[in-house]
């Protein structure tokens, strides 16, 4: 395969062929990146070395971290605080710091106050101070999310069980909660009240407003046998159909999976704590124990870049190895 670029619609040095090559990398779990034609593929380590920022001209960049599971101490990772710290070190090493962070849930393993405390303490080392959260099921285990909301929704106008939206650089961000009031036999769930709020929230927005939706459990059906999906996500996506660019960022499954459907890009992030098996490859979705030297290659974070005038956001995954 030659390396010349035959089609470069976005003038970003990437064409379909380059994109497909990156897709091939995905299988190795090293690095991959994608988004409807706009694609950036540099590891954060490379960026640190060359001193260049990820995209050459960017209006907005933010980072997604997920599934830190502070308090977990089993074989799959005996020191999740250490790997979380490494993730923050990577963020701090970026020559152009991200505008803010998004944490897509499972901050803690067991919703314990001391686990939240440890997380907050470690996070103080991060140069980027603005963080937006959505809860994972591990953060709302015993109190319906009360403690989570008291700690992590101070800077937003949280509605209902904690959903909200905000605008940054012309991009509309929507944080959804799909880990509460789950029904026996079912999947993740948003519920009527949240869906009605969502419908109203986007009503006044022009179709050319880029939308970023983030929630813990995937808003697409990844693998229902393991509960990896959200039962009423179709209705939510229905309200977003008219928008030209929708990026959906999820966690929960501790691995990078991605799908493009029309104008919607679905993407799941790696955990900073431990990997989980690929769908259907193990008896259960429980923590996956890999050889110690391999662990950090299966943990990571996600960088998202938005350049005004482009059709989609660029999503870049980087491992901790």
């Amino acid at each position: 395969m030659s390396n010349y670029i035959s089609h470069d619609h976005e003038h970003d040095g990437i064409d379909r062929r380059g994109f497909l090559k990156c897709m091939a990398w995905a299988g190795t779990g090293v690095l991959w990146t994608i988004s409807g034609g706009v694609l950036v593929s540099k590891t954060l380590a490379e960026v640190a070395k060359t001193g260049s920022s990820l995209p050459t001209a960017t209006d907005l960049s933010f980072l997604q971290i997920s599934d830190s599971h502070i308090g977990f101490n089993k074989a799959a990772n005996k020191d999740v605080t250490e790997t979380f710290k490494i993730a923050l070190d990577r963020i701090n090493a970026m020559p152009t710091p991200p505008s803010f962070l998004i944490h897509t849930g499972d901050i803690t393993q067991l919703s314990k106050p001391e686990e939240f405390d440890t997380f907050d303490q470690i996070l103080k080392s991060c140069r980027t101070k603005d963080v937006f959260y959505v809860p994972g099921e591990h953060d709302v285990l015993n109190d319906g999310g009360k403690m989570y909301r008291e700690r992590y929704l101070k800077n937003v106008q949280g509605k209902g069980s904690g959903w909200y939206s905000f605008n940054k650089n012309g991009v509309h961000f929507i944080g959804l909660v799909n880990v509460l009031d789950l029904q026996a036999g079912g999947l993740g769930q948003l519920g009527d009240e949240q869906l009605e709020w969502l419908e109203n929230d986007v009503k006044g927005l022009g179709g050319d407003t880029p939308i970023v939706v983030f929630a813990h459990i995937p808003l697409w059906t990844v693998y229902p046998q393991w509960g990896w999906g959200t039962s009423d996500s179709e209705r939510a996506l229905g309200y977003l159909k008219r928008f030209g660019s929708v990026t959906v960022l999820n966690g929960h499954i501790h691995q990078v999976l991605q799908k493009v459907e029309g104008n919607v890009t679905f993407h799941t992030a790696m955990s900073t704590a431990f990997p989980q098996p690929a769908p259907g490859t193990a008896p259960s979705p429980g923590p996956l124990t890999v050889p110690a030297e391999k662990l950090r290659s299966m943990l990571g974070l996600t960088s998202v870049q938005y350049k005004q005038g482009t059709t989609a956001l660029a999503v870049v995954d980087t491992t901790l190895s």
Binding site: E137, A184, G185, L187, G227
Partner: protein, 121 residues
């Protein structure tokens, strides 16, 4: 009497610590002591209740033990008995079977996990 009486015991087996509390959804509380413990064990492993359906006699204990590295809960679908707290690895949860009937339950953290208790006279 049409009440379900439950007793909950969470034991941190590895630490050798055991907490103890008695909960009842409706009606009077009843402490049956520890006799017969272990008769009706449900193991939680690989995100499943095993056995998925258990048949017990009214008054007998039912004990779940979590063998996963993931927390799980035991929650009555019809809210017929008090839900368990999140059970970490090797933690147990015990209820005492009340009135005869069929009780469906699930894990509220992983709702795909479901089970059934059939209580006979």
């Amino acid at each position: 009497m049409n009440t379900l009486i439950s007793k909950i015991k969470i034991a941190a087996v590895l630490c050798g610590i055991s907490g103890f509390s008695v909960l009842a959804l409706a009606g009077e509380m009843k402490d049956t002591g520890t006799d017969g413990a272990g008769q009706n064990k449900i193991e939680i492993k690989d995100f499943a209740f095993n056995p998925q359906t258990i048949t017990v006699k009214s008054g007998e204990k039912i004990t779940w033990i979590n063998r996963d590295e993931e927390p799980h809960t035991v929650v009555s679908v019809e809210k017929q008995f008090k839900k368990s707290p999140a059970l970490d690895t090797d933690q147990e949860f015990t209820v005492v079977a009340g009135s005869p009937g069929t009780y469906s339950y699930f894990c509220s953290v992983h709702p795909k996990m479901t089970g059934t208790i059939v209580v006979k006279q």
